[in-house]
Symmetry: C2
Subunit: 267 residues, 2 copies
């Protein structure tokens, strides 16, 4: 029995999220369909993260087991060939691809063995509506104060009870204590010169909508609606309504999954 671990990139715009659902186009559903063709057997994927509709991935991970003949490197090429849907395909075609496929020990599990994750949240900070970027950035029209956002981020980094940054509707978790190892705010520019802010956050685990609520809170700090120094009290309160809004899904990218604790903690 082989156990294959995939690294996957996708543009989440035209998917109803990761998780397989009847009659809907989901990342898991599409991958299982294509891998089933390539492996000539039914495939059940274990994904590391059940990303929501509209959320993207640069390095999602998923594993699956089976007794199939196709060599691991050919499996990726064959699946990507089907997923690409022709040279000049427009729209959905090409919005999902496998970046790597490797054989792992039989007891390895893409989700349970993950030690942590890194997300990137991309903000486009300019006044004029940018229709060509609407599915890949959260556009904030008023100028954001990146320094204030960095001060707020300093309070979020570390081990805390992050209950205030959790939406209702996720799976029940035993504890809401998590460790955020890094939370960086990086300024950049698009090709056309518009200002961008990328929020990079690395942690040992994330509560439901945690990155999007942290982003919404940092945006409110950047707009001057919330003081950076309010963050310790918000965290201590454990109350969702004290934190900022939930930033929209299209700015969020699952960037990396860590299976090595030293790599995660930057040791």
């Amino acid at each position: 029995m082989k156990n294959i671990l995939l690294t996957i990139e996708y543009d989440g715009t035209l998917f109803s999220g990761w998780q397989r659902q009847p009659e809907k186009r989901t990342v898991q559903g599409e991958l299982e369909r294509v891998l089933g063709i390539v492996c000539r057997c039914p495939v059940q994927l274990n994904g590391t993260s059940r990303t929501d509709a509209g959320v993207h991935a640069l390095g999602q991970r998923a594993s699956f087991k089976g007794d199939f003949g196709i060599p691991t490197d050919r499996l990726m090429l064959a699946a990507n060939n089907i997923l690409a849907g022709g040279m000049n395909a427009v729209g959905k075609a090409g919005d999902l691809r496998i970046l790597s496929a490797e054989e792992v020990p039989e007891d390895f599990h893409a989700r349970f063995d993950a030690k942590g994750k890194k997300y990137v949240y991309k903000i486009l900070n300019c006044q004029e509506t940018q229709i060509f970027r609407r599915n890949q950035y959260y556009q904030v029209r008023k100028e954001l104060n990146a320094d204030a956002m960095r001060r707020a981020a300093g309070y979020i980094t570390g081990t805390h009870d992050f209950k205030c940054f959790q939406s209702a509707g996720g799976q029940e978790k035993k504890t809401t204590v998590r460790t955020v190892y890094e939370l960086n705010i990086i300024e950049g520019k698009t090709e056309a010169g518009q200002r961008t802010l990328s929020i990079e956050i690395k942690g040992d685990g994330f509560l439901y909508n945690m990155v999007r609520i942290i982003t919404g809170t940092l945006v409110e700090v950047g707009l001057g609606k919330l003081s950076p120094e309010a963050l310790p009290d918000i965290l201590k309160s454990g109350q969702r309504q004290k934190a900022g809004h939930t930033a929209p899904p299209q700015g969020l990218y699952l960037s990396k999954v860590y299976y090595d604790l030293e790599d995660l903690a930057g040791l």
Copy 2:
């Protein structure tokens, strides 16, 4: 009877082109539907250019007539409100908007009165597949020689019979002679640092697929498959098969429509 001239921007990815078609989502169809709601009467738009599926516009023009009460400035706001489809809409919503609406003389026609147009064709020139840019650039993996492309562009600029750069399937035109006033190749970088080339072309009119075939020909020059000095003979031959391939639709943007000859010719 009012006559309104619109300037329109759209991401063509999820449209079956400009022209109204039954059961299909087209730019004309979507605009006529929304303007019909706003004006409370049936609307028939005359668009300047019937862009193909997947082709974008930064400054498409269209005019329509009617006896409606709504003031011209409110008309644009109301239509854009419906088109935006909510703050954080994902996917189709927000892929089309009106940039300006102005009242023009009753005998003005958005297409017949156009003196020329400017198109931009965007190329992403890097090796690694860029899934998030797939619908907005033509990705060319091997390095393009921009200087060679500029030499070839020099032969295309001016007044010529452009029959060799015309696809079958367009409307029959009386003459295939056109004037290209400008053809510039501008190098840039994406946010992530990948190389881009923008081909900007301004002319008094374009044959069917002319910009895409000129682009395909320039790409072949940039790859060293075709010599820049072959261009005069290709033009003279009038034979489609001597020119390069038709570049895919998703890199093409209708950038500007000119109603003033002096503006077009840069006088």
